[in-house]
């Protein structure tokens, strides 16, 4: 019995090998490939440079709750909170992050900040070319990480299409 089983196992394994032999070769031509990512290809869950998201109204999702900073094992997140006012409204809640810095010299891309975020404000983007010879350029400010403002859509007025 065991001989039959062994042969079957061997055949199964070799089957994969032989099948792959005839598949077309995949080569990622990074950095000479096409598209904005120049050939690099990411899984959705790849943890790259952070992106601070905006909501559907273009307001920042971050409410300066300090949970990401608390979760960060490298202690590399710096936040200063400020209050939204009627005149200056940055986030949809009471507070917003006036300053939000991440020190990429120390960030270990563990994703704890993303996991801790109660408003899905901080996410991992796919930015990955972060190396630098000058450590001082590795401090990313809020402006460096913030998602661009959504393109303004004209408000749909009820009954306008009738």
């Amino acid at each position: 019995m065991s001989i039959v089983e062994n042969i079957a196992g061997l055949a199964k394994g070799m089957g994969v090998t032989l099948r792959e032999m005839v598949q077309p070769t995949e080569v990622e031509n990074y950095p000479d490939g096409p598209g904005p990512e120049r050939g690099a290809h990411f899984q959705d869950r790849f943890r790259g440079a952070h992106v601070l998201q905006r909501d559907e109204n273009g307001l920042e999702k971050c409410v300066a709750c300090f949970l990401c900073a608390a979760a960060c094992p490298a202690n590399c997140i710096y936040i200063e909170a400020a209050e939204n006012t009627a005149e200056v409204r940055i986030s949809s809640s009471e507070r917003y992050a006036k300053v939000y810095n991440i020190d990429y010299n120390r960030c270990i891309f563990c994703g704890y900040c993303v996991e801790a975020c109660p408003t899905d404000a901080i996410t991992h983007g796919h930015g990955f070319e972060l190396a630098s010879l000058d450590a001082t350029t590795m401090i990313y400010r809020k402006e460096d990480m913030l998602a661009p403002l959504p393109e303004k859509k004209l408000p749909e007025t009820a009954g306008a299409t009738v």
């Binding site: 810095n101 020190d103 120390r106």
Partner: protein
Amino acid sequence: MGTIYIDGKASEADPKQNLLHACLSLGLNLPYFCWHPAMGSVGACRQCAVKQFKDAQDTRGRLVMACMTPAAPDTRISLQDPEAVAFRAGIIEGMMLNHPHDCPVCDEGGECHLQDMTVMTGHDYRRSRFPKRTFHDQYLGPFVYHQMNRCIQCYRCVRFYRNYAGEDDLNAFGISNEVFFGREQDGVLKSEFAGNLVEVCPTGVFTDRTLRRHYTRKWDLRMAPSICGHCSLGCNTTMGERYGLLRRVVNRFNSEVNGYFLCDRGRYGYEFVNSEQRIRAAQINGAPTSVTEAKRRLSSLVAGGQQLIGIGSPRASIESNYALRRLVGKDRFFCGVSDGEWERTRAMVEILQAGPARSASLRDVELSDAVLILGEDVTNSAPRMALSVRQSLRQQSFETTQKLRVPLWMDDAVREIAQAKRSPLFIAAAGATRLDDVATATYKAAPEDIARLGFAVAHEIDAKAPEVPDLSGEMRELAATIATALTGAKHPLVIAGPSCRSISVIESAANVARALCDNGHSAALSLIAPACNSFGLALLGARPMSEALAAVQDHGDATLIVLENDLYRQLPAKLVDGYLAKAAHLIVLDQLGNGTTAKAELLLPAGTFAESDGTLVSNEGRAQRFFQVFVPEDGIKESWRWLGDQSWSSLDDVLSEIGTEIPRLASVIGAAPLSSFRIAGAKIPREPHRYSGRTSITANISVVEPKPPDDPDSSLSYSMEGASIQPPAALQPFFWAPGWNSIQAVNKFQSEIGEALRGGVPGVRLFETSTGGGYFDGIPNPFTRRTQEWLLLPIEHIFGSEELSAHASSIAELVTEPYLALNPADAAGFLAEGKPTVVEVAFGGLKQRVPLKVLAELPSGLAGIPAGLTALCGEELPAWCRIERAS
């Protein structure tokens, strides 16, 4: 003590207490909301359910509320019983039905009792799918922020506000699931203790409005034990700092002093540290200069051969005053306050040291059962004491309670038994006071008459005390009533202070206390000091200011060094101008810019209590140490460090030198452990272990993580590294215990709940009673009013009268406009058809225009101006003034 059995384990418990108190005292975790150690039990929230068994054979048991069940000997309970656990989980699930779950945007998040209790009961999943009820929030003034949706209806806020603090503008409205806690309409909370709602509320309904402006989570604060410097009571506080900005102040429990509560001046006065008017760099003739240059100039001026004259300060620490005294020599060290204030302060210290009555701590005030207040509006001059006086009013009703065998912690029943019965409280003051509503009798009179009443009371108690001549029948009757009440009490208390600017008032209070003690009553005396370290300065010893003038004049080229003192607030402006003009050089050390700093040749930035270490002596005579919270980036240093110039390497050196030089201050060094103190070889961390962003705080300047600053002066470290087990009480930087993130973690640090912290009561008492001395006999003549002239008296205000706190932005919103107050009959002549009138006050060659205010309770013949709020605040009062209607 009796034995109770908790989950089969025998433990010691106080049978006078309830089971919740017993369980928490034993260090067990039992969730609760409505119970508060200072406010007792009402059994409203049903959260502390445990299973009680009849005897060892009983296996079924029944659910009881631990807070409403006495910890009688042989009580058998179970905390872990599945039914009790399920009941508690059900209760919290019910409470969370309407809670918005908005912890990330809630200021309470991270130090929320509701969060802690939810985690403790294990409730982690919301099953309800129905909408939550919502409320409109109210504007409650500059101190407290209202977010009613978060409420869990525990009723603690109204119980504190109405029953404990005795104010009535916060209430519970509505019924059933729609109970609203707030005011009838938007408006500033009337109570001077409203800030305590922030700590009393178990969740984020009431939060610190000043913290919102520079919000930081508790776990991100660097904290240190501090002493409030905004009045003389020496309440213990915890300061919190982040990114070089002082963020907030919370109460630090001290069983003998402030207990669980602070006043709003103490809680919100801290913002002056971040004020625009802070002196952050040294200045030479108004131009900013470097620390090195400032030091060079200081040493050249000091060594310049001119006569040095030092002016100390009642709001600077003992160490700073000593450093100046040492620099200039003790014969050229002056007290920095008016001769009148200095005389009164020294008299008070003398009375407390040499008198037979015990100097009362705030706890003593709370436990006294008959109180006589002479010449003070306590709520405005020493606010936290007013809260203690209010509690003292319950003492006599406790006798009935005990007779009926109702335990004291059963709050509703105890208050029901008391009804309107209050311990006697007599207030004699030169106007209305905030305690008048609960006083047995009040007496509104001029300082002379208040003193005469005091002397008369003393004579009524003890015939050996001097008799008051020409006593009116009415006053004699009042004095007899007061004397009967005081002698009938177990712990009578006399409170007096400097608000009337009258030494006779203080002496009359001393006589009453002496008369009581000499007749076998254990009386206590509480004398309120004018500033946070007035008594420390008096114990240190200094010469009166009138002699300073002569010293400056004798040496035409003297160098004047003024320590943390705006002379224009202490002395008449003309006199100060004289001093400053005659001195060849003026060196000023201070925290905020003021009239004196504006004239300084060399201005040195002095650290506030947040940026320095030092010791203050409270009105009780308790020397208490405050510790630096953070190291400022700029040139700010402790005054004693500026003046000591390298001769001391740490605070310990200063303290041991003070001990050798001034024997009566020798015990001050024991106010807190020395800087060499270590726990298992480690310092005590100022930062919680969850302190975040450590490596990134200065990353925008340098990517290298800086070494935390050294602290040579204390055994606290400026980082999160160190021994995180229980430090000595005086060094407790913050209260935190596993599972207890809110301020109620203090439970885990007390020897017994509500009692002293483990490791002793912080501070050392310097005043002990003595049997020597005799009665004062300087009885003043009765006050006679003059025609066309009024006796001008200062009126203390909790917000504004104290120099530093008035610069806090939230307090500044509540500071009253300057005014001149008159009795309605007196004011009638100046009022133009009832319209607001501006009058001109003139005395001693000075004139000041102020709006007229009619104060019904002000005795006829007196005029009042707010203390510390007008240009006249340095003038020696009382003074006879003329009033004219300004054109």
